[in-house]
Amino acid sequence: MLEIKGLHAKVEGNEILKGLDLTINPGEVHAIMGPNGAGKSTLSAVLAGRDGYEVTAGEILFEGDNLLEMEVEDRARAGLMLAFQYPVEIPGVKNVYLLKAALNAQRAARGEAEIEAPAFMKLVREKLAQMKMDKSFLHRAVNEGFSGGEKKRNEILQMLVLEPKLAILDEIDSGLDIDALRVVADGVNSLRSEQRGVLMITHYQRLLDYIVPDVIHVLADGRIVKTGDKSLALELEARGYDWLLEADAS
């Protein structure tokens, strides 16, 4: 469903992604690990379509369409959605507004009618319960005053309501306590299906115990330098990244 070929991207004139290849098929869960500053969040930003990232070479196909030609909102509606490493606070916009506006935008793109208020509230309450979030969160401004862990739960809540085909999770585990990690992981696992893909960026093996990936990649210096199965995470935990960087340089 996602095919990235030879992707080069610049930020503020600096080349960050330097020939990145990655393919995700429906039903697969991929994890990307790698040192700080390697370009992991840059990749997620390029996928989501954030301003300020200049793609200088390569292509990205999402379900066969040229992703780089799509507007930010069209990517989301087509089913590619990013859970942010640093979720943005949006003072004054209630969570419930965001969820509803987003869901209706997606439905409109599919030619469906707007969801009826009772059906919407039922759906949202169900997902809130799943994320073990109080319903007061619905009427709070998006992420405003949320703790770090609450912000991450809120990102996954959005994923559960919007059900993207490809969910990209940038360090969804950072700042979570043990219980919250389990809730978040259960949430992500509930999204897994034959049709959907997940791309999760993480630094920690622990997340991968809860959300077991099919494939693990190591992103270093703007490229995928190693791809393996879940045992790769254990090896990285034991040996760090240096051995890979050296092997890659030679």
């Binding site: 379509g49 954030r50 909102e73 004054g92 965001l98 506006a101 919007l162």
Partner: protein, 441 residues
């Protein structure tokens, strides 16, 4: 100036004798001497009233017929209501039935026929002929308005609604309503003023309100302005506050060709508190101007002012907030904040806080910010599939909600919220989204 003189001649010939008449002549002489203010006057630096001299105004003498669509614009507040149609009292649209004891709500023209001394003593006590040239003009031209008295300890169960409704007319009409309110000791009331119209006749409404708050009185004052595109408004509110009285204003200025307001609060005794909250929302080439002056005339008096400006297109806004703390007014608190959101490169906001503090033991603060929408927030919304235009609309509404959230009168709140969401350009239209959520709750 001749046009004004002709208009005055008409008013004066038809005026009933008595205090209004004798004062009119002096007032008009004063106005003729000063003329319409120009940008050379410090108070009118950013707002040019030359349109007032250019436009030929007449005054409505009889009540116009009011269409159903005009009537539908009146807020449904279950209120006691005085409606002035182009400045003329409308008995049909007004509702002054079942007033409690110790409560007077009357059109001014009626009040002066039987209570001349009282009405005459109140009108002009705070906003007098020598206040400024336009107030002098108001004294010369005023024909109608409202006199409100709420006796000691009375807590009004319903709001009082004062409507200035402009209807379609072949030429521009002008009116000068005067409002006088006496809030007795320990009384509580809510007044909702509504300026409304939807026809491009270019009417001018100049309203002067004088509010007297006795000890521990509480007055919540809404001013909701949704005038027609070409209409002009100049408003002056003058408040006199005694011990522990509390005045709270919600000034919701949603546009008009030129809409200027002055709020002046005299905090004359310990515990007097004034809170001014407002929203200026301008589009097209609208010009919105808010001036306030809070006089801390006594120790232990408190004021806070919180204004938000939202300007799109080539709209222009002015916020000038003045706080004056007298020499012996120790232990006062005065806070002021003006935050503005510019939705277009060509919109412009002039904001100027002015603090004159002659006491030393005071807590004062002021802050102003002018910015654009947070692009990170726009992106975060778009990244969930929300249209860029809807995202911007939601964030604009969010900015307005920082003031609107304090508006406890639902009809006012909902009208403003829907108006801001729906009155924005097509690409901002959120009306459906907003109203639906209100129903869902």
């Amino acid at each position: 100036m001749n046009a004004w003189a002709d208009l005055f001649q008409q008013v004066n010939d038809e005026a009933t004798p008595g205090w209004l008449k004798s004062r009119r002549i002096a007032a008009f002489a004063r106005f003729e001497h000063l003329g319409i203010p120009t940008p050379r006057d410090e108070d009118w630096k950013y707002t040019d009233l030359k349109r007032l001299n250019k436009r030929q105004f007449s005054m409505a003498q009889t009540e116009a017929t009011v269409s159903h669509t005009d009537q539908a614009e009146l807020l449904d507040l279950n209120a006691w209501r005085i409606v002035l149609v182009n400045g003329v009292f409308s008995p049909d649209l007004s509702d002054l039935s079942d007033l409690p004891n110790q409560v007077t709500i009357e059109p001014l023209s009626q009040a002066i026929t039987h209570d001349q001394e009282l009405a005459g003593g109140l009108v002009g006590r705070l906003a007098a002929i020598d206040t400024d040239s336009l107030t002098a003009l108001s004294h010369a031209m005023a024909q109608e308005g409202a006199l409100i008295r709420v006796g000691s300890g009375v807590v009004l169960p319903r709001p009082i609604q004062l409507v200035y409704l402009s209807t379609e007319h072949e030429s521009a009409l002008a009116s000068w309503p005067r409002i006088a309110v006496v809030a007795g000791p320990n009384s509580q009331m809510t007044i909702v003023e509504q300026l409304v119209g939807q026809h491009a006749s270019g009417h001018y409404t100049q309203r002067v309100a004088e509010l007297f708050l006795e000890g521990n009185a509480q007055l919540t004052h809404y001013l909701l302005q949704t005038p027609a595109e070409k209409d002009l408004w100049v408003g002056r509110v003058h408040v006199e506050q005694k011990r522990d009285s509390r005045y709270q204003a919600f000034h919701l200025n949603l546009g008009g060709a030129l809409v200027r307001d002055d709020f002046v609060c005299e905090l004359n005794a310990r515990g007097a508190t004034a809170s001014l909250n407002g929203l200026l929302f301008g589009q097209g080439r609208q010009h919105l101007d808010m001036h306030s002056k809070v006089n801390h005339n006594a120790p232990n008096t408190y004021s806070d002012e919180n204004y938000k400006g939202i300007l799109n297109d080539r709209a222009r806004g002015v916020f000038n907030g003045k706080v004056i703390v007298k020499r012996d007014s120790q232990q006062i608190e005065a806070h002021q904040n003006n935050a503005n959101l510019l939705l277009s490169d060509q919109a412009e906001m002039d904001t100027k806080p002015e603090l004159e503090i002659y006491a030393d033991d005071v807590k004062c603060s002021h802050g102003t910010t002018t910015g654009q929408l947070d692009e990170n927030a726009v992106f975060a919304l778009r990244a969930r599939g929300v249209d860029e235009s809807v995202a911007r609309g939601l964030l604009t509404l969010a900015f307005a909600n920082q003031v609107l959230d304090q508006v406890t009168l639902d009809a006012v709140h909902d009208t403003v919220e829907a108006r801001i969401a729906g009155a924005l350009p097509e690409r901002f239209n959120l009306k459906g989204l907003v109203l639906e959520d209100q129903e869902a709750q």
